[in-house]
């Protein structure tokens, strides 16, 4: 029992540390990339490794903590549902945003090799 | 450490006060109707947050305060709950205030639209000048 708990805690901590690293990197990427379409990729890093993986890690750690009392299983359940929701909604949201920005011609695709959708926006 | 804690808590209070001042300024001096509505929502939220902040409770002897919901129904747990939980009364009052706030915002949105269809502008200075 104790060893299983130790494994859960270690795996959860590893996922959380990975998540913190990815979150910082994603924030740096937001500052280094100067274009909306490039920032989309930094946002994906912040969403998947920066949010979904550490949420699962937090759920694993929450299983081992007995002080949470009668609602002990409530915490990992809600965290995992939230992770699945993020996994479903975040890509749809950033796709909708990218499409809206592209159709409204708010931002130009820059730097750009080619734009098959709307060649005028390139460069 | 105690003084640092008090200072950090009063930073929260001070920023609520500053938010209140900024949104009050915007409500009076910004000419556009939508800007006034946005300032009104911010003002309402700030007042609500201030009410909840007053009901907060410091950590009691290194133990965090608790949500005002019982998780354990035994008598001794109720005694501990009484000594640790935050004040539920402001939360109950704010609850209805938020929903009423949404209804008022909806009313103001309808009103703004009627105003626009009548005057073709939402700038309060021009509306004052046009006068029907």
């Amino acid at each position: 029992m104790l060893e299983a708990q130790l494994v859960l805690v270690l795996v959860g901590s590893a996922l959380l540390c990975l998540g913190a690293f990815a979150a910082i990197v994603s924030a740096i990427g937001f500052h280094r990339f100067k274009n909306f379409y490039l920032r989309l990729h930094a946002a994906t890093v912040g969403t998947i490794w920066g949010s979904v993986y550490p949420l699962i890690g937090a759920a694993l750690i929450a299983i081992t903590i007995s002080e949470l009392g009668a609602y002990r299983w409530f915490v990992p359940g809600a965290i995992i549902v939230a992770a699945i929701i993020v996994l479903m909604l975040a890509p749809a949201g950033s796709h909708a945003l990218a499409r809206g920005v592209h159709r409204a011609r708010v931002a130009r695709v820059k730097p750009c090799l080619a734009d098959k959708l709307d060649p005028e926006l390139c460069g | 450490m105690e003084a640092v804690n008090t200072y950090l808590l009063s930073v929260t209070l001070a920023s609520l006060l500053v938010n209140f001042a900024i949104s009050l300024y915007a409500m009076f001096f910004k000419p556009h109707y939508v800007k006034k509505v946005i300032a009104l929502t911010i003002l309402g939220d700030t007042v609500n947050t201030f009410a909840i902040y007053i009901g907060y409770r410091r950590w009691v002897e290194q133990r965090p305060p608790r949500v005002p919901v019982l998780t354990d129904l035994r008598p001794e747990a109720i005694e501990e709950f009484k000594n640790l939980a935050v004040d539920p009364l402001p939360q109950a009052l704010v609850l209805t205030a938020i929903v009423i706030g949404l209804a008022v915002i909806l009313f103001l949105v309808f009103l703004g639209w009627i105003l626009y269809s009548h005057y073709r502008t939402l700038d309060m200075r021009e509306i004052k000048r046009l006068k029907g």
Partner: protein, 89 residues
């Protein structure tokens, strides 16, 4: 031991949120700002779950799911506004 790690991670996430909020406050276009608000919210989900574990208050976790669901609404409002110029119809 675990709790110390969790407190350190909370502070790291706060630093990431601070860095991102600079973009959210002064991004070049509306798209940048909404994207940054998205990522801030998804990171604050982790922040909130860590604080729940740290304070040992299981009931606080109910806020995660609404927060995750309704930032999506903001995304699609802005997307539809940019795409069509209005929201209805």
């Amino acid at each position: 031991m675990v709790m110390d790690l969790i407190l350190a991670l909370i502070l790291l996430y706060v630093v990431a949120i601070l860095l991102l909020s600079i973009v959210a406050l002064r991004g070049q276009t509306i798209g940048d700002q909404v994207l940054a608000i998205d990522v801030i919210t998804y990171m604050s989900l982790v922040l909130l779950s860590l604080i729940t574990i740290y304070l040992k208050q299981p009931l606080l976790i109910v806020l995660l799911i609404p927060l995750a669901l309704w930032v999506y609404a903001l995304d699609i409002y802005i997307a539809k506004y940019l795409e069509r110029g209005d929201l209805g119809a």
